[in-house]
């Protein structure tokens, strides 16, 4: 079991192993998307079935409900050098578990304020509601978020950690 190596994590994306885009030197962010299994994750699958295209910079992490997402996960990701984090859940009111995403909405709203207060660019942490049917919305959201974060450039982890 490898111990997490902060320096390595803090290193810019272009240095990473077998990250193909490195060749053209253009910055490719790494974006982690926490997705509710019942809506956004399904939406992503649907985007696949429809052979839609979106940037490959985003990685989905499946959770049973957006209410499961603990802010610590997000902090961890940003600290360890993720350039952006996306939290996706069902539309408020449509939660598969009745009320989960209401808590997410409240929790993440406060948390986002905190991060921005700590100096994080708003684009780096976003919360979106995407249903299992909204493949198009998923593609558009991901594309947009990726572009925003590419524009921002790599996250300065040390600064983050310092804060």
């Amino acid at each position: 079991m490898p111990v997490v190596d902060n320096d390595k994590a803090a290193a810019p994306a272009t240095e990473t192993t077998n990250a193909a885009p490195a060749s053209n030197g253009e910055f490719r962010p790494k974006i982690l998307a926490f997705c509710c299994n019942w809506c956004t994750y399904a939406g992503a699958d649907l985007a696949g079935l429809n052979r839609m295209n979106y940037p490959a910079d985003v990685r989905l992490l499946r959770v049973p409900c957006s209410g499961r997402i603990n802010p610590q996960f997000v902090i961890e990701a940003l600290n360890k050098g993720c350039d952006g984090v996306l939290v996706c859940g069902c539309h408020p009111g449509d939660c598969h578990y009745v009320t989960g995403n209401y808590y997410t909405r409240r929790r993440m709203l406060v948390f986002k304020r905190l991060l921005e207060y700590a100096g994080l660019e708003p684009e780096r942490f976003q919360v979106r509601w995407i249903s299992g049917a909204e493949a198009g919305k998923f593609r558009d959201t991901v594309t947009q978020v990726c572009e925003e974060i590419r524009a921002l450039g790599p996250i300065d982890v040390c600064e983050e950690v310092a804060k």
């Binding site: 079991m1 490898p2 990250a19 696949g48 490959a56 499946r62 959770v63 409900c65 996960f73 009745v98």
Partner: protein, 660 residues
């Protein structure tokens, strides 16, 4: 030291098209604790699965990562596969290399890079997985249906016909609900009682249906498969075992009371059967009015009863039983317009009546043997005004929603009136005409051709002038103020939830919306389930609807119940919340956040440095927990964790991603 096996799938060219599968496999081999990596053209095929089994045996693998299509597609397949090996089915992670990589990215290099990350994340997580075992929750093969209207009866029949015992609880002395009170049903105009009463007797005679009339549900506890339900049977003062329902008592009873069944337009006795075809076809004594029970004199019924079934000393009985499933069918009530509409006389005018009154009036077994007469003086009304949306679509005085059936029964009343009083005039005031349904709009057009005058507008005031009633309205289509002199006014009042239905729903852990209608699990995809497993709903307790919709929904609810009761037990989902009692501070944040009431605080004794201490800790009910994990994020002390999606596991996933 875990031993992880990674299996990457080509999925023909589906994955291999944009992902260099072998490159992925090579990286996988370098990952910690990975002892075996295999690629396969079609992993889900039988040979594919066979080689996985073999590999597990050969390399003594104890956890598995599948680099294949979406877990939503095949996770269950893999679990099943593993259940046939020594690997625990929950020692599994799926990297979604198809729907979320190969199908959405064109650049092979990018695709491969992403695939590798996903494999890394999966490996990191599975390394932290622990074996999970679902417990078997036994299911009591008996269903409880609350409410004996057409919805409840239909559900009960369907469940019982499938061979499962049913208890049908009805608070009135007879089952049947509102439907037998109606005269005809739109748009086919077949006699309501004629199609309803056979169902009633079918229910009454069904060997598997236990009808508990004049009874109410007192309390519900437990969870899916095992609901502990207490039912209160109100005192009937009659021994139903011996009573033959001969009716002698009813004919001889000297006390006359307003008959609720005819909405006070006729009289009944103090010992009475609700109506001729009542089921059970036996009377009850109305304790409020019986002279024997109130004044202690009379006793006629006791004297005349040939089977000596009268028992003035009878009392409420409480019985508790276990049920596997519960169906809510508590139905509706008509909105109490009198309190709300002073401008319509506030209920003081005898001839300003509701649609249900009209149903009784026009009904052959009603107060006027089916001749259309108005209550005040039994005269035949020569002009009738029908007002729709009374109480409905009126946030100011009533409710904001549309009651859905009124447009049709309004048209029906107009049609019936014009049919029985050919020389009569009929005016219908409406806001909009909503007739979505088979043959509904045709019926509406027919009614207009029968001569019903449709006026688009709300009536502002109804007042008595001489022996007729003046209705002031506007015909908004012509922009004219109009007034109509009516002999009788029929208010098509909206539906509201039956009194007590919210309380009943709450007992079963089901929420109601602001209007008091029971909320379904999903408005489109789970219309007859509720958010507490094992509790289903049908009919108007969920919202206003007409008879066809109600019956259809009842059948649907029944099929869900049958599906549940057919199993001897259900496998609980082991991916549920788990409390680390050593960390739990017992502040109950999780209790408040849990949408299923699955978490309770309990007093528990612990040994802490060789001393016994009592502490309050959270406790998760395996039957109720659905595994959403809301409690884990709410837990301040970090004692709550979600098995299958543990804090550590997710953290490791995150870390893994961050090292590419």
């Amino acid at each position: 030291m875990s031993r992880i096996g990674v299996f990457v799938c080509y999925c023909g060219s589906n994955i291999a098209g944009t992902v260099d599968v072998e490159a992925v496999a090579d990286v996988a081999r370098t990952l910690p604790n990975v002892v075996y990596v295999e690629t396969n053209k079609y992993t889900c095929s039988d040979p594919g699965q066979a080689s996985i089994k073999a590999a597990i045996e050969e390399h003594n693998i104890d956890r598995v990562v599948m680099g294949t299509c979406s877990p939503r597609m095949h996770e269950l397949t893999w679990r099943k596969l593993l259940s046939e090996t020594k690997v625990n089915p929950y020692m599994l992670e799926v990297a979604n290399l198809r729907e979320q990589v190969s199908w959405v990215h064109k650049d092979k290099a990018e695709g491969t890079a992403k695939a590798i990350d996903l494999i890394k994340m999966a490996v990191a997580k599975v390394d932290r997985n622990s074996a999970l075992y679902s417990v078997e929750i036994p299911i009591t093969d008996r269903a409880l249906v609350i409410g004996g209207g057409i919805a409840g009866m239909q559900a009960a029949l369907d469940i019982a016909d499938a061979g499962h015992p049913v208890t049908l609880v009805e608070r009135k002395p007879s089952i049947g609900g509102k439907m037998p009170q109606l005269d005809k049903t739109f748009p086919t105009m077949d006699c309501s009682a004629c199609i309803c009463t056979p169902k009633m007797s079918e229910v009454g005679n069904h060997p598997l249906i236990d009808v508990r009339s004049y009874s109410e549900v007192e309390s519900v506890s437990g969870y899916v498969g095992n609901f502990e339900v207490t039912i209160r049977e109100k005192a009937k003062y009659i021994n139903y075992d011996s009573c033959t329902g001969c009716g002698m008592c009813e004919t001889k009873c000297p006390t006359k009371v307003d008959n609720e069944y005819d909405l006070g337009m006729s009289k009944r006795k103090a010992i009475y059967k609700m109506f001729a075809q009542a089921v059970p076809s036996k009377p009850v004594i109305d304790a409020e009015h019986c002279r024997m029970l109130t004044e202690g004199k009379c006793g006629v019924c006791e004297k005349v009863c040939p089977t000596h079934s009268i028992n003035y000393k009878d009392e409420d009985k409480l019985t508790t039983e276990t049920y596997g499933a519960v169906v809510l069918a508590t139905g509706y009530e008509l909105i109490d317009w009198g309190k709300l509409y002073g401008e319509y006389g506030g209920g003081s005018y005898p001839d300003v009546i509701t649609g249900l009154h009209f149903e009784r009036i026009v009904n052959a077994s009603g107060p006027f043997e089916g001749h259309i007469r108005r209550p005040s003086d039994q005269k035949e009304p020569k002009s009738v005004v029908i007002v729709k949306c009374v109480g409905s679509r009126d946030p100011n005085k009533g409710v904001s929603y549309c009651s859905r059936a009124c447009c049709m029964y309004g048209a029906k009343h107009a049609h019936q009136y014009l049919d029985k009083v050919p020389d009569g005039k009929c005016y219908v005031f409406y806001m909009d005409v909503r007739t979505p349904g088979k043959g509904y709009d045709e019926f509406y057009m027919r009614t207009k051709n029968d001569g019903a005058e449709y006026l688009r507008g709300r009536v502002s005031k109804i007042y008595k002038e001489g022996d007729h009633y003046v209705c002031l309205g506007e015909d908004t289509l012509s922009g004219r103020q109009v007034s109509v002199n009516a002999d009788m006014v029929v208010l098509e009042t909206g539906m509201v939830p039956a009194p007590g239905s919210r309380e009943t729903a709450m007992m079963c852990g089901v929420q109601c919306d602001l209007d008091g209608w029971v909320t379904e699990a999903h408005p489109k995809l789970r219309p007859v389930e509720t958010n507490s497993a094992g509790v289903y709903l049908c009919g108007t307790c969920q919202g206003p609807k007409d008879i066809p919709d109600t019956v259809a929904q009842a059948g649907a609810a029944a099929s869900k119940v049958i599906g549940l009761l057919n199993k001897p037990h259900i496998e609980s989902n082991p991916q549920i919340s788990h409390v680390d009692e050593s960390l739990c501070c017992g502040d109950g944040a999780c209790v408040d956040i849990c949408p299923y009431g699955a978490i309770k605080l309990i007093e528990k004794e612990f040994r802490e440095n060789s001393r016994k201490v009592k502490r309050t800790v959270a406790n998760v009910n395996q039957g109720l927990c659905q595994g959403c994990g809301a409690c884990t994020a709410a837990c301040r002390s970090g004692a709550m964790d979600l098995l299958g999606f543990t804090n550590e596991g997710i953290m490791k996933e995150v870390d893994a991603l961050c090292q590419w």
